[in-house]
Symmetry: C2
Subunit: 233 residues, 2 copies
Amino acid sequence: MEKLKEKRKLKSQPKRQPKPLKNPPRRPPKRKNEVKKFRNIKQEIRILGVDDAPFTPHTNEQVMIVGTVFRAGYWLDGVITTKITVDGTDATDSIVEMVNKSRHQDQLGVIMLDGITFGGFNVVDIKKVFQETGVPVIVIMRRYPDLSRIKKALKNFHDWEERWKHILEAGEIYPTDKIHKQESIYMQTSGISKEDAQKIVILSTTRSAIPEPIRAAHIIAAGVITGESKGNA
Amino acid sequence: MEKLKEKRKLKSQPKRQPKPLKNPPRRPPKRKNEVKKFRNIKQEIRILGVDDAPFTPHTNEQVMIVGTVFRAGYWLDGVITTKITVDGTDATDSIVEMVNKSRHQDQLGVIMLDGITFGGFNVVDIKKVFQETGVPVIVIMRRYPDLSRIKKALKNFHDWEERWKHILEAGEIYPTDKIHKQESIYMQTSGISKEDAQKIVILSTTRSAIPEPIRAAHIIAAGVITGESKGNA
């Protein structure tokens, strides 16, 4: 039968007028070391939720990074992906590139990361992500991280001080208010105030204890790589 | 920082008690050539939306098939994937296997396919999918298919009659009622009455002109393979 795509493409073009996708001009950093102020947080704020796929630890394999573009906690508007190296140091640049070349970039209100490390100990420099994309970043953690354990693990890497610096520079780790009577989760942020970050986390936590963009990114990444997503994120 | 997964896994186990995932017993066909009757369609009926990823036509490549498990048109509960051959004849068996080995299988109320062909002209035998999974099937088409054009294209294959048979055996192609004042879309079904299929299509069409499970499967499949999903499905 006719596939839906053909018609869809025709239908969506007049509405969307996407800018050319190949080599879009890299937007200059909009904000440097300042905090984006949200006058009011729109109910339909677009959030990019980022998680990594399952991988084999302690290899130099590539691991898939999945970004879900959500309208707050409700609608999946797009999926973007990239790859990083397990235990490498390319997570920051790969995420920046993934965001900046996306047609969603201009519309993104915030980036949410499922933890500050991906693919093992590939630590994200969230200040750099904010500076180079112009989009504020919220790192989501379900519990308060065991920093001494992380530091010890990082010391296995010759460049551990650089990785550790990114974690420290991500700043204060603070709990959210309880959401829907669930336990608090924890955040680090860049380019956004604690209060605004908290509002956006609450707004996007519509289905479980964690924001929906991150829950979906986890489910998608796992399903695509293993054939089936396990658990309910 | 601590990744969410660790905690999640611990948290989700007591609640979910998933059956062992490796080699789950293949459930015997529950229904053969009969129509599943839905006494009432639950608002949270679980729907598997199936679409294929972008691929290069006329090759023997493998193409990814993505299945999204949705609660009606609202929540993504899981993602399952498999692969089929471009222009091959393995779509039916691959989809049956993907469904039957999924931990979601017992809970699925219906399977929705984005068209009856995947990966080019790999035609799905929807009667067989219903018989071998026990889950009714709804094929979704945005417009009435040009059957003579399809037949002509199929004639390029030595086994075209078998492929064509699957299309005919999928039965009547009927329009849905208008959904949210959008144009009608078209359906073929197996194992479900026209009335029930229509209700489920309406229930799950929450965001665009097509059911959400299919819209999401399309976005995910495109984003994972090309790095970015184009358009809005």
